[in-house]
Amino acid sequence: MIKAKPKPLEEIIDNVKDFNKLLIAGCDGCVTVCEAGGLKEVKILAAALRLYFTQAGKQVQVDETSLTRQCEKEYLAQLSDRMDGYDAAVSLACGVGAQYLAEMYNHKIVFPGVDTCFMGVNEERGLYSERCQACGRCILAETGGICPIARCSKRMLNGPCGGSDKGKCEINPDIPCAWELIYERLKTLGQLDRFERPVEPKDWSTSRDGGPRKIVREDLRI
């Protein structure tokens, strides 16, 4: 899932301090799971903003809501009769949701309330790590189910490099060497012969190198 972390409160306050009617909009999807932008975080941010404005002697309306998903028009449409009543909104959804909210209500100012970080897993509560970079052409079948694009610091296709030390990456001893993990996994699977076939250069045009991407699925379109 998409992982995000809350933006510093002072940054949000700085963005919204000159508005009189604010909507704090959370998302019940990915950002709820990583506890950065769900209804609970909306309530905390709204309470903090109300305390800030009251102590500053300002009368500002701060309302709270959370949508099932901010990356879908149908759910964003639930705000259509309310948005006119606000000067600005703070979206606690990921960058995708915040942009779609701004796109749908383009006469309103939308501020991001979280920093969207990566696609990753919940290792444990409060500990998330990256697993996928959405390169557009998955090679997990070749690498024992461990992605060298997301997990190797150099995105090497034929690793490990000389910076691998006792199974750790040279950039940080807390980061496991992806290629060491791949080697161990292929050994477990009895597929070490894959190391004898060099991986061909990757076509990066399906990644960000090809510009903003779009999926068109004719079989699904109505």
Partner: protein
């Protein structure tokens, strides 16, 4: 024990301090509290293993938020007491009351009432 402590404190019982969330602490200030103390069991003695440790991290985060919104993080504090430490509880209430008296009323007092009035005014004009 018939211990005396100031009537300034309003006690809200929870099954475990692990139930206390940041939102509860912030809402207490919205609804007019000038200070909040969270009193949990001794560290290592939680019946639910880690409830008081969760509360500790939430109180820490609430302090950071209160600092940033201009109320001051010293208005919220956590103490760890056992059920046999009634005397210390009375002392803590006295200490906290004196501390809050020194700090003065919360500058965000009545935030909830004001928010309600602002919303009602907004609805009347639309």
């Amino acid at each position: 024990m018939r211990l005396q402590y100031p009537p300034t404190v309003r006690i809200i019982e929870v099954p475990c301090t692990g139930k206390v969330d940041i939102i509860h602490l912030l809402q207490a200030f919205e609804y007019g509290a000038d200070g909040v103390i969270v009193v949990g069991c001794m560290e290592g003695d939680c019946h639910y293993q880690k409830g008081n440790l969760y509360a500790k991290t939430r109180v820490k985060r609430a302090k950071e938020i209160l600092d940033k919104v201009g109320l001051g993080g010293e208005r919220v504090a956590m103490f760890n007491l056992s059920s046999g430490m009634g005397g210390r509880f009375a002392e803590i209430v006295k200490e906290m009351t004196n501390k809050i008296l020194e700090l003065g009323p919360s500058p965000a007092r009545g935030a909830a009432v004001k928010a309600k009035a602002v919303r009602a005014a907004g609805e009347a004009t639309t």
